[in-house]
């Protein structure tokens, strides 16, 4: 069996860990085991296993070598490596680059499908409607149908007013 990190040497260290939902089996050669800190159980982080080997390296690279820190809650990549969980909602933005790869391996897709809070859905529907009306308005103007254009303009005005009232422009 080959080492699953360097894929060159024979694996002599076998590690099985149940992390979160997954049973992870890792086979490493002696050199890689040492560099991954397998011999030191504290240093061999759960996040590495949970998120696939090299997850934390990815985050480190994304940070451009310097320690990435969430401006909202002060959570760092090291914290993530340790806990396998994020600090706050803003962290998804802060660590977005590194998370992208992880989410791909973890989930069916990388874009949300499904329930959306009603308020957001309404404003999304409204902004779709404004766009739609704007298209119609442009066409009406091009066709020199100014009567129709006037109606459309009023509708756009109304919809935009409701949209800004909903707080999402």
């Amino acid at each position: 069996m080959m080492c699953c990190v360097c894929k060159e040497k024979e694996a002599t260290v076998h590690y099985t860990q149940i992390a979160g939902d997954k049973i992870q089996k890792v086979d490493l050669c002696e050199g890689c085991a040492k560099s991954k800190g397998v011999n030191d159980p504290m240093g061999f982080s759960l996040a590495d296993l949970l998120l696939g080997l090299g997850a934390s390296q990815e985050i480190e690279q994304a940070a451009g070598g310097s320690e990435l820190k969430c401006p909202r809650c002060g959570f760092t990549q090291a914290d993530f490596k340790k806990a396998g969980r994020l600090g706050c909602a803003e962290c998804y933005h802060t660590f977005s680059e590194a998370l992208g790869g992880l989410l791909k391996t973890m989930h069916k897709g990388t874009r949300h499908v499904g329930k959306v809070p009603e308020a957001l859905r309404q404003s999304r529907d409204l902004s779709d409607r404004v766009k739609d009306l704007q298209d119609k308005l442009n066409k009406a103007i091009a066709a020199e149908d100014f009567e129709e254009a006037a109606i459309l303009r009023d509708e756009i005005k109304q919809a935009s007013a409701r949209l800004s009232k909903a707080g999402v422009a």
Binding site: D21, A83, R85, L86, G87, A89, K108, G114, K115
Partner: protein, 369 residues
């Protein structure tokens, strides 16, 4: 309020009926939600957790479906109370370990439960007896829709509901069913089934969820992925897989009775023998033997005995429930003695199993596809 006075007597909850309940013990749908303006519970400092708790708890209490609910902070609950909630699958073991800054709101018939500041700010779940995933989803979806009007959820159009752990991101949904699968275990077919269920992106866990063993041949099947698939699609996918597992379990039972009836009768007869006569028995052994007795009831070896008798013992013989029935603190050895006393007493009027199942095996409980 005293939690033990609030909780439903096990005799009552064991008698609840649902579709396919001879195999599907319960259905559950859980949603994870967080507030936009607070750090996740694992990272938030205590004052912030308390602020979140004090914001969410009254909002949850104000839901019409939570009228007359039990509501408290985790530091007000004793270790024993928390353990009882775990044994009833109302809270997670992780939540049972929480104290100040976390809370619980549970409705009176134990069908909706809110954990505040578990791994996420809000974990809400709907529970139903038998196979009722759609109904559970509708219930919790409604509660969530009512809450979102008052709570400012962390939501991104791209990533969906933002959760502390990226594994719950998106819909934040976990749809699961608790299955009693003695046929597949005795027929040694359970491992291939688990493997193929895993391949479909679903998780199979033990009795108490993550990282626990399948005591009493009880398995939890749930979705794993939460991003990129709509809630209704996840519910439907799980329903399809469960229908297949139910069919496999029924077939396994049929085959066992046909080809290895002696082995099955032997297991069930011995289980009855020990349960009805033991003077000391551990919780683990009790569950495994009760599972066999439940199978015996299902295949008609105990005429006149209702499955609820076994299901009630499933709840009553667990450590915290047993301790709760006694005022003095019991050691594990004392619990084993009292557990055996209780089981013997309950099985006093249950006659030993028939030597063989009456007639052809009872009609298979095949779900409509």
């Amino acid at each position: 309020m005293d939690l033990s006075l609030f909780l439903i007597p096990p005799a009552e909850s064991a008698r609840r009926k649902g579709p396919h309940d001879r195999i599907v013990m319960s259905s559950r749908v859980r949603l994870a939600r967080n507030l936009k303006d607070a750090a996740f519970p694992g990272w938030a400092k205590k004052p912030e957790r308390i602020r979140v708790l004090e914001l969410i708890r009254p909002t949850v209490e104000s839901l019409p479906e939570m009228k007359d609910a039990f509501s408290d902070t985790m530091d007000n609950l004793s270790t024993l109370d928390k353990q009882m909630l775990v044994e009833r699958h109302l809270i997670s073991r992780e939540h049972a370990a929480k104290s100040a800054g976390s809370g619980l709101v549970l409705n009176h018939d134990e069908t909706i439960c809110f954990m505040i500041n578990e791994e996420d700010h809000l974990r809400m779940q709907a529970l139903r007896p038998g196979l009722q995933l759609k109904q559970a989803w509708t219930t919790i979806d409604q509660a969530d829709s009512a809450l979102e009007k008052k709570l400012d959820y962390a939501f991104s159009p791209e990533l969906g509901y933002l959760t502390a752990c990226p594994t719950n991101l998106g819909t934040g949904i976990r749809v699961s069913a608790m299955l009693h699968l003695p046929g597949l275990v005795l027929g040694e077919q359970i491992n291939p089934i688990i493997q193929s269920v895993n391949k479909l992106g679903l998780a199979v866990r033990g009795l108490y969820g993550e990282g626990t063993e399948a005591l009493g041949n009880v398995f939890q099947v749930s979705n794993q992925m939460t991003l990129g698939e709509a809630e209704s699609a996840i519910v439907e996918r799980l329903e399809k897989v469960l229908a297949q597992i139910i069919e496999h379990e029924e077939n396994a039972r049929g085959t066992l009775l046909e080809k290895k009836s002696k082995t099955v009768y032997n297991h069930i007869g011995r289980a009855y023998g020990i349960l009805a006569n033991a003077h000391s028995i551990s919780s683990k052994e009790t569950m495994n033997l009760l599972s066999l007795m439940r199978l015996g009831v299902d295949v008609g070896l105990f005429p006149g005995v209702d499955r609820s008798l076994v299901d009630e013992l499933f709840i009553l013989t667990q450590p915290a429930h047993l301790q709760k029935a006694h005022s003095e603190k019991l050691s594990a050895e004392e619990r084993d003695l009292l557990r055996a006393d209780m089981v013997r007493e309950r099985l006093k009027d249950v006659r030993r199993p028939l030597a063989q199942a009456p007639g052809p095996p009872p009609g298979l409980d095949k779900p409509a596809k």
